[in-house]
């Protein structure tokens, strides 16, 4: 594909500037796509009950449970889609699942 437009596409890109065929040049750009607003249910982390057993982070299909120094952190709500897998996985009832507020 010969084309000079290699800028990341944003929703205001005009047809003359868009990359032909939708070719994508910036690797790892899924991060730019905020999927958090798809959520109908929201997981809430109850830090006092959490034992840091680390069962939940790898089960998240959206990598929305950040981990630092072998400890999970609070949710990345920009990307968590509210699937509820982490809620099911937690053996210590340290995650509740509530209705997403508008």
């Amino acid at each position: 594909m010969r084309n000079k437009n290699t800028k990341p596409m944003t929703p205001d890109v005009k047809w003359k500037e868009i990359t032909p065929g939708g070719m994508i040049f910036d690797a790892g750009n899924a991060e730019d796509f905020k999927t958090g607003d798809w959520r109908a249910m929201k997981p809430i982390w109850i830090i006092e009950k959490c034992t840091q057993c680390m069962l939940c982070p790898p089960t998240c299909p959206d990598m929305s449970i950040p981990v630092k120094d072998s400890k999970r952190l609070d949710y990345d709500y920009d990307h968590c889609k509210g699937c509820g897998v982490c809620v099911e996985v937690c053996p210590f009832d340290a995650i509740t699942f509530v209705k997403e507020e508008d």
């Binding site: 084309n3 290699t6 929703p11 890109v13 005009k14 047809w15 868009i18 065929g21």
Partner: protein, 393 residues
């Protein structure tokens, strides 16, 4: 010095492929295009090309493999006919919208059903809105010449679209005729190296091709794709001029045959143009001002130029070797009529569906069409516009 040869239309296209030496050819055999990959696989086996020949299990896979190869940065080609083209349908659109300049030899054959292996244009006419550039060829020489030019057109910076080169199944694909070939090195220098700026095998620049394109972007992509098709008319002519310098053979968006001062004329595609030219000569000898316009480029459709070439015609017959089942006429008729609307409204214009499923079209049939045009021109009575020639009544 050009090489004088005797080749069938299929051989001519296979030879063009050998001279081009593409990176990938992926094809599945289907009559009457089978010979093209068959001859080409011999070139591969003989070491005459260093192409990766992918013997796929279906035409859908053939086009998919071409798409993959083109996205990877290679020159990719295939050949097919009729139901093979139909099986590629989904991927035709994806090739075009992903802006991948794949080249296809389309040997026109009637689309089933009922099953028929002979020539008409129902296959490529069905694919006319898939986003492929379509070039049509009257004979083996044009099939060869168009195939070589197709690469330069499709790969042009402003175009980046796949190109389908069509010729009539059996009538020209299997008939051996004299042909002038270019020397291998001249073809090589004419087509040049294909060096895409962005391709998937470039480890220095990771890219994604063919992603999900939701409402925020899809429309802009379609608009841009349409622009490429509009741009291609100019490039097709530029490439034709360069080709003429090399070979002396002149190509345009269409061919005008004794059209300048004609009063009655046909618009026609592919091999039947040859038959019709003989009829035009005969009529001219009898003082009848007959002419014809042979379409070379159907996509993009050269509307303005056609309107200009036809504006003085009194009665015009548009010859369709395909039904469209629109209940008002064939696909070429629809294009020509909309082209002339508002630009040359005085022309009496009728449509003839002819030669479906390989029904022979003889000089007599074409003469009948011209004599009916003469009547229309004289009386001004157009009658039924959606007509047939050669069907048993």
């Amino acid at each position: 010095m050009a090489i004088r040869e005797r080749l069938s239309g299929n051989e001519a296209m296979a030879v063009a492929m050998r001279q081009i030496n593409p990176d990938v050819v992926a094809a599945f055999p289907i009559t009457p295009s089978t010979e093209i990959p068959q001859y080409f696989s011999q070139f591969v086996a003989n070491g005459e090309v260093d192409t990766e020949f992918v013997a796929v299990e279906s035409e859908h896979s053939a086009m998919s493999a071409c798409i993959g190869a083109a996205a990877a940065g290679g020159r990719a080609m295939t050949a097919t006919s009729a139901n093979g083209l139909a099986l590629m349908w989904e991927m035709l659109y994806i090739a075009a919208s992903s802006r991948l300049p794949i080249t296809m030899a389309c040997v026109n054959r009637a689309l089933s059903g009922p099953i028929n292996i002979h020539n008409d244009h129902s296959d490529s006419m069905g694919a006319r809105d898939s986003g492929w550039i379509q070039l049509y060829s009257e004979n083996n020489q044009e099939a060869y010449d168009n195939f070589i030019q197709a690469l330069r057109i499709g790969e042009h910076d402003d175009i980046m679209l796949p190109v389908m080169v069509c010729q009539d199944g059996f009538i020209t694909s299997h008939a051996v005729e004299n042909i002038e070939l270019l020397e291998d090195d001249k073809v090589k220098s004419f087509i040049g190296e294909y060096e895409p700026d962005h391709y998937m095998l470039n480890s220095k620049e990771p890219i994604g091709v063919g992603p999900l394109d939701l409402p925020a972007y899809y429309f802009e992509h379609k608009r841009q794709q349409a622009e490429a098709m509009k741009n291609s008319k100019k490039i097709i002519l530029e490439v034709a001029r360069e080709f003429e310098k090399l070979t002396g053979r002149k190509y345009d968006l269409f061919e005008e045959y004794k059209l300048n001062d004609a009063e009655i004329a046909l618009v026609i595609i592919n091999s039947t143009a040859g038959t019709a030219k003989t009829v035009v000569d005969k009529l001219r000898a009898n003082g009848v001002k007959a002419g014809l316009l042979k379409i070379r480029v159907f996509r993009p459709f050269p509307a303005e130029e056609i309107a200009n070439a036809l504006k003085h015609i009194k009665a015009l017959a548009v010859m369709d070797k395909a039904e469209s089942f629109s209940a008002v006429g064939g696909p070429l008729f629809a294009e020509i009529k909309s082209t002339l609307y508002g630009t040359a409204d005085g022309i009496k214009i009728v449509n003839y569906i002819y030669g479906l499923g390989g029904r022979d079209v003889k000089a007599d049939d074409i003469e009948t069409v011209y004599s009916q045009l003469s009547d229309i021109s004289k009386t001004g009575n157009i009658g039924e516009t959606y007509r047939y020639i050669g069907v048993r009544q």
